[in-house]
């Protein structure tokens, strides 16, 4: 049985992010659309960086997965540039394959404001090709994955995922809410942990670039993220974030290198 056969297991994050994905018939492109729901933006109307990166990981991951069939993929690293700006409309993501090899797939993803076409983020996602237990997900082609709009108000990402302050950083428990269909921490939650750890260290800040290496799955928890300030330069502060699975001997799940600016410099 494929990990994707259960329509509910590991779907909480996908439904929370609200990205509907549609495969384009040509050029191996996947387009994602998401409404600018109140829970996805901060009080000033800027999409949470972790949320945006989670959407990018989802769109790029599905695009890479389709290119790797009959096998499937797991994200290994995400490199993104973020342009924090107030949303006027929904979010449109466009993922395309840059390179599909035997062992890895590289996809390029950009995210734009649907109302203005302004760039919100562009990214490159590298995925490793693997033989998933039980086989890959089975989809009708061209793929359409519709996420219905939320029928009630949702909390902000930290509240929904259960992110709380911890020693020198932030952490969360591995509840069913934050898992993916394989039963491990969802990549879109790891991105929020990274953002929260940076804000814990810097205070109000806009993330302007993120390099995120997914190293090992989070299986036990709690998972803790700690951001270390490296230095300042004319355009941004530089930080390193380490994400560890404390219940698995503290092994490192992910590391991120982040640049961030004080809130208010960008708009």
């Amino acid at each position: 049985m494929s990990a994707f056969d259960d329509p509910d297991a590991g779907r909480s994050v996908t439904r929370y992010l609200g990205v509907t994905l549609r495969e384009q018939s040509e050029d191996r492109i996947v387009v994602g659309t998401a409404p600018a729901a109140a829970h996805l933006v901060d009080p000033s109307g800027v999409a949470h960086a972790g949320v945006l990166l989670g959407m990018i990981d989802s769109a790029g991951g599905v695009c890479a997965g389709l290119a790797s069939l009959p096998r499937w993929i797991v994200s290994t690293n995400l490199v993104a540039r973020l342009v924090p700006r107030r949303l006027k409309g929904g979010i449109v993501l466009r993922a395309r394959v840059l390179r599909a090899g035997r062992n890895s797939v590289v996809t390029s993803i950009d995210a734009r404001d649907d109302a203005t076409d302004a760039l919100l983020a562009d990214a490159v996602l590298t995925s490793a090709v693997l033989e998933p237990a039980g086989g890959p997900p089975t989809y009708d082609r061209p793929l359409v994955l519709v996420v219905p709009p939320a029928t009630k108000a949702r909390p902000d990402p930290n509240s929904f995922y259960g992110v709380r302050p911890a020693a020198a950083g932030v952490e969360l428990a591995l509840t069913a809410t934050v898992l993916n269909p394989w039963g491990i921490l969802h990549g879109g939650v790891t991105t929020t942990l990274v953002e929260s750890a940076v804000r814990h260290t810097l205070g109000g800040a806009d993330l302007t670039s993120v390099v995120l290496h997914f190293l090992r799955p989070g299986r036990v928890g709690p998972v803790r993220a700690v951001a270390t300030w490296i230095g300042s330069r004319p355009d941004a502060d530089l930080l390193r974030v380490e994400v560890r699975d404390l219940g698995a001997d503290g092994r490192t799940m992910a590391i991120a290198i982040v640049t961030a600016t004080p809130r208010g410099i960008l708009s």
């Binding site: 390179r99 062992n103 670039s209 004319p234 355009d235 530089l238």
Partner: protein, 273 residues
Amino acid sequence: MTQIQHESYPPEQHLLRDLRVEFEQRDDGRGYGWLPVSEFIRNPSGSVHAGVLATLVDMLGGGLAATAVAPDWIATADLTLHLLPRPAGDEVEGVARLLRAGRTTAVIEVELRDELGALGLASMSFARLIRRDDNPVVPRPGSAGRSTLALPNSRLTEPLLDQIGFAVIDASAGEIELPLSSYIRNTLDAVQGGVVATAIVVATDAIVGTNAGVPVETVDLQITYLSLVKDGPLRTTARLVEPNTADVSVVDAAGQTATTATAVAVLVEPNNL
């Protein structure tokens, strides 16, 4: 000091020799590298050119990754570099740490610093390749002490970008050109990854600086290597996506995009000098 000997690579006249980097892989699982800083590799502000630091990272990370996957071999998949632009001391130290070595990939992190503290952070991913007979043999960690590719007469004799041979075709478009030679090739007979990174830095400095009307320095690189550049000349094209940010493509002689990158360059204020 041990001189690394290999029958075919690098040739006597090669960039990796002329940079005079010294290496050591220690029993703690880390790789250490020391880059002597001459005037030929500095920016006008006194910082070290980002392309040189990317080359140091590529050498250090490549050595550690090769050790980790031995007897298999590696190819660089991506490289990121984030710098704190300030004048550097006489020597830059790089410390590489293996984050993961799996069946198909290896991930390395490199910390850059000098005697005053941090200079930046870098990361690299490598694809694991089946070993070929002509791949170099890497020494076991802790077995060789410090080593170097430099020969007694190896050194830069002019500014690095001139010595490599870059030509700026159209600065406002970030178009540069580089004829290929054995001086800049890697073990796979393609352009060495650090040289590709240097080309991206040159293109970024050109397009951002021309647009801004002031000299700038590249401080961030996010590079994805898609294929090898084996036939030249290597060319770059660039597109300004923000006043300080460029998307850069590296294309080979056939016009195929071999590398894509996003790079950030900043004006280094006089009070930072």
